[in-house]
């Protein structure tokens, strides 16, 4: 238990000390700030939204941003501010779920295959590489089209696409660590294979997985937006930035720039937040850069 707590503590250095770790610390902090505020905003949307985001004709149609509707209204007279506030909910759920599925599948397979080596390793690598060969969004669209709409189906489609990234990073790390002397020393001291895998190899793989996962959050957000944009996301009556992009694109020729702009900015900010966290953490957790 003690070990696990200390590992966690080393991954989540207290926020104040981040500012003392140079650029990487600041990057992580900004990323954390962006993500936290968007998550909070989405979570609090039902209480802070001026209108029901799904209600039509709360105002005039195509109303540009003004005092009453700060982000304007769309072609149905829906309040864009309310839609921006709550439109991230599905995307966040999908991202969390898909990253979770990826972790649950990619990490154990990567650990076992590369530790066991031989045919199992070859087979798994081949499978993962063949998934990796597809363009991510195209594959996700194909799978989502097969599975149908809904949060779980979107998450599954995204998870399948990104599992190979986890598998690869875990595999490459295990291949290095399993040759290191301390796993050899553990074996020479009579440790079981299971113990070596779980106590010696896994904890040393976790930092890389954390980095991949946080970068992967950003990919999942963008892919989820893409899926909704092409109509493979959730039902039309649920407010979602992806849907607003679809609508906004159609309305753009008529000059209603505000319908597509604000949800688009939110998607970019959220993805940027996760990317910054990932980039920052990969610097912070890199032992070679530690003084």
């Amino acid at each position: 238990m003690e070990t696990r707590r200390s590992i966690l503590a080393s991954f989540l250095p207290d926020l104040a000390s981040l500012t003392k770790r140079g650029l990487a610390g600041w990057i992580t902090l900004i990323g954390l700030g962006l993500v936290t505020s968007i998550v909070l905003m989405t979570f609090l949307a039902p209480w802070i939204s001026p209108h029901d985001p799904s209600a039509i004709n709360v105002g005039p149609q195509f109303c540009p941003p003004n005092g009453q509707f700060p982000l304007g209204t769309n072609h149905l007279g829906q309040d864009m501010l309310s839609r921006v506030l709550s439109g991230g909910s599905i995307m966040l759920q999908v991202a969390v779920l898909s990253v979770f599925i990826c972790l649950m599948i990619g990490v154990p397979i990567g650990l076992l295959a590369s530790y066991a080596g031989g045919k199992l390793d070859k087979l798994c690598s081949l499978m993962m590489d063949s998934i990796y060969a597809f363009p991510a969004l195209v594959l996700a669209i194909a799978i989502a089209a097969m599975l149908g709409t809904g949060v779980v189906n979107m998450a599954l489609a995204i998870a399948v696409v990104y599992v190979p990234s986890y598998f690869r990073i875990v595999r490459s790390q295990v291949l290095t660590i399993k040759e290191l002397l301390y796993t050899e020393a553990a074996r020479a001291a009579g440790a079981r294979g299971r113990t070596i895998l779980l106590r010696y190899i896994l904890p040393n793989v976790v930092p890389s997985v954390v980095v991949v996962a946080s970068v992967n959050f950003a990919d999942a957000i963008l892919t989820a937006a893409g899926l909704t944009f092409v109509g493979l996301g959730v039902a039309k009556d649920i407010p979602d930035w992806g849907w607003d992009l679809t609508d906004g694109r159609a309305l753009l020729p008529s000059g209603a720039w505000w319908v597509i702009t604000f949800p688009g900015i939110m998607i970019v900010l959220l993805a940027l937040g996760f990317t910054l966290i990932g980039e920052g953490l990969s610097e912070l957790l890199n032992p070679r850069l530690e003084q």
């Binding site: 020393a185 074996r187 020479a188 001291a189 009579g190 440790a191 904890p203 040393n204």
Partner: protein
């Protein structure tokens, strides 16, 4: 009954290019509390031999022939599970590089807890830590540092921690594979003397694997000199020092600087060891040997008892007549 008995052990690495015989027909025996120095240059098979005593020859190495008995038990017939109880408890291993021998994410204390509880599951964590503190203290490491991580220690301290781990379960035999190669000379002497004093104190047998003949001469009871997978000389260290027989051993001794000989000329052994993939006929050493005779190129010399159990693999001491 000797503690360790190795009988015509042969180990091969099944490489893609062919089989490489890393250990060739080695036999030795070790009594309780005895120290054995295993000397040879890189690739002479000394580390492979050491690891085989725990059945940990790295892939694709295979023990193709011979027998290893520890306390009379043939370990080559044990199951992997039975083998686990020999590793760490009866026989423990100290590796060459202390910088990478400890798990970077585990505290020093956790290494001990894990080791002790692997072999004695009934012992509580507190008790295991208490034991660890005592051993660390014996080896000159402050007990309160038990909560520190490996990167907070210097190389010499880490090697002392590795030794503490090796003796934590009071094994009968400790195998130290070049335990001081990664350390500077002063720390090196300290670690070696520590190993020797532990031998005296805990009564365990010690196998010291090294490429440096000078450090085992004064610290070991017996010495095996290995060359290209073969034992070329096997005798008491005092005899070896006074009367080295094999030309290779003589070469090694001549290459050790001696402070008392002001005009000593250090001599290197010319050439390099043979390719073990396709060893040529005859003695493995003859191309580098200044005493080489015609027969050396044609026949592999047998291990000859030159005098009272002083074994030498060289035609200079007989064996030329079939």
């Amino acid at each position: 009954m000797p503690l360790l008995e190795v009988d015509s052990l042969t180990i091969e690495y099944l490489a893609r290019r062919g089989n490489i015989r890393a250990v060739d027909d080695v036999s030795l025996s070790l009594e309780k509390g005895e120290t054995l120095g295993l000397v040879g240059e890189s690739g002479s098979g000394k580390s492979t031999l050491g690891l085989s005593l725990l059945r940990l020859v790295p892939y694709p190495g295979v023990i193709v022939d011979g027998r290893i008995r520890i306390d009379g038990t043939d370990i080559l017939n044990l199951s992997e599970e039975e083998m686990r109880f020999i590793r760490g408890r009866k026989v423990s291993f100290v590796f060459q590089d202390p910088m990478t021998s400890l798990n970077p994410v585990k505290k020093i204390g956790d290494h001990f807890v894990e080791l002790i509880r692997t072999h004695e599951p009934t012992i509580s964590e507190e008790e295991a830590l208490k034991r660890a503190e005592k051993i660390l203290n014996d080896l000159g490491i402050l007990p309160e540092r038990i909560n520190d991580y490996p990167h907070q220690f210097s190389g010499g301290m880490r090697q002392r921690i590795m030794i503490a781990l090796a003796i934590a379960l009071n094994p009968d035999l400790v195998i130290a594979d070049e335990p001081t190669t990664a350390l500077d000379v002063i720390v090196q002497a300290k670690i070696l003397d520590l190993l020797k004093s532990l031998r005296d104190e805990y009564g365990m047998a010690l196998i010291l694997i090294t490429h440096d003949l000078s450090i085992v001469l004064e610290r070991c009871d017996k010495i095996i000199v290995m060359y290209a997978g073969q034992m070329v000389e096997y005798t008491d260290s005092t005899i070896l020092h006074r009367n080295p027989r094999h030309p290779y051993t003589r070469g090694l001794l001549r290459s050790i600087p001696n402070i008392e000989l002001a005009d000593q000329k250090l001599e290197a052994i010319p050439g390099s060891p043979p390719d073990l993939l396709n060893p040529s006929e005859g003695c493995r050493f003859w191309p580098r040997c200044s005493y080489a005779m015609k027969i050396c190129q044609e026949k592999d010399p047998p291990l000859i008892d030159a005098e009272h159990g002083h074994l030498v693999r060289c035609f200079l001491y007989g064996g030329t007549q079939p």
